[in-house]
Symmetry: C2
Subunit: 246 residues, 2 copies
Amino acid sequence: MRYELYYWPEIQGRGEFIRLALEAAGADYVDVARGSKKGQGVAAMMQLMQGQSRIAADQTRLPLAPPFLKAGQELIAQTAHILDYLGPQLKLVPRDAAGRRYTQQLQLTLADLVVEAHDTHHPIASCLYYEEQKAAARKRSKIFIAQRIPKFLDYFEQVLARNPRGPAHLVGASPTYADLSLFQVVEGLRYAFPKSMKHGEKAWPRVAAVHDSVAALPRIAAYLASPRRIAFNQSGIFRRYPELER
Amino acid sequence: MRYELYYWPEIQGRGEFIRLALEAAGADYVDVARGSKKGQGVAAMMQLMQGQSRIAADQTRLPLAPPFLKAGQELIAQTAHILDYLGPQLKLVPRDAAGRRYTQQLQLTLADLVVEAHDTHHPIASCLYYEEQKAAARKRSKIFIAQRIPKFLDYFEQVLARNPRGPAHLVGASPTYADLSLFQVVEGLRYAFPKSMKHGEKAWPRVAAVHDSVAALPRIAAYLASPRRIAFNQSGIFRRYPELER
């Protein structure tokens, strides 16, 4: 099946967690809003969401926001939920039901961290400029760095330590989409808060090892070196404002 | 099966979405942290989460935070994810896979709204007092009321309007856990922002009708009138600070 991923074309954002899974599996997919053919681009994505396109005419179930995935006739939204759907098809979850559930639980926990990472620079509202909420952003970032990053990464370190199949993966004995997402979260935190992560990361050696092993997966390494990987930038979830780290 | 729900005993919070589902189905469950028997109470919940209890000794997969559910030997965390697990068992989702997925997608969209509702009074950090972040809370609430509530409730109004089985439910022709959660969100928003909701709700007649029909389900009506239903208060997700509505 050819998957159609719909997401903003100029940021990694939440779409990146889906892209990483599709890339790691070598799946056949189109990043629709980044395309320039007929029926592609941001306008096509917006029309579908607003129920105005030809594809939307066949749908009674539309998403509120990207990312969403078109798989056959079905539209599926919500980042973690898309990964839960793709997991078995891309062989990125354990085969047993409890293992699949636990992987999704970890993904949703990572999603909570992602919301908090975003809100470090936009604590008041996404619709306002960063400059309009800089004072609050400083306060939120300070606590995020001191308390929230450790809370989450301590937890994932423990998840790895407790894995009966060894600490190389969050669940089971091979990479899951949650490992790929943990890689992305570490990348993002290192980009946004380089000094703090450099200082603090010693406390999370297993997390760092998962990051490195994901980066070394042949398909992921090829993806990261390709133009398909969008660079971090000041429009995404993880942004580098040096003043937020002081 | 007797389910064991673990959640803070003195607030509705995220646990309430699970309680409503268990109550609507007449399920056999224990609200563990509210109990006073041996192995119950908040201490028991904390010990389990921290891997220190007898139950935890059998577990390699521990949650980061409540709510979580013990179902047989399995611990399941993350509110929406617990509902996805319970849905088929409690007959609170459609039987087909696509319908079950769509219900979960809607639940995760409600969960996004719940995070934003919480952050209206805690935009900087949950670990600080409201009084320490009141200025930012006013700014965040203003935009939440003006833009975010309408964005989400307009969406759910459209979801109801597009349901081929009619606008009485979000998905299919009978109540799902997402309907129960929409009830709870409307209750919460009315509690936190009574003037704004009174003024704005006319725009969402289908959403209000779902709220009313859920409240009238015999088991839910009985639950809401029982001491098991904790009242809204100033420790939960939805709080009433009149100054945030001005």
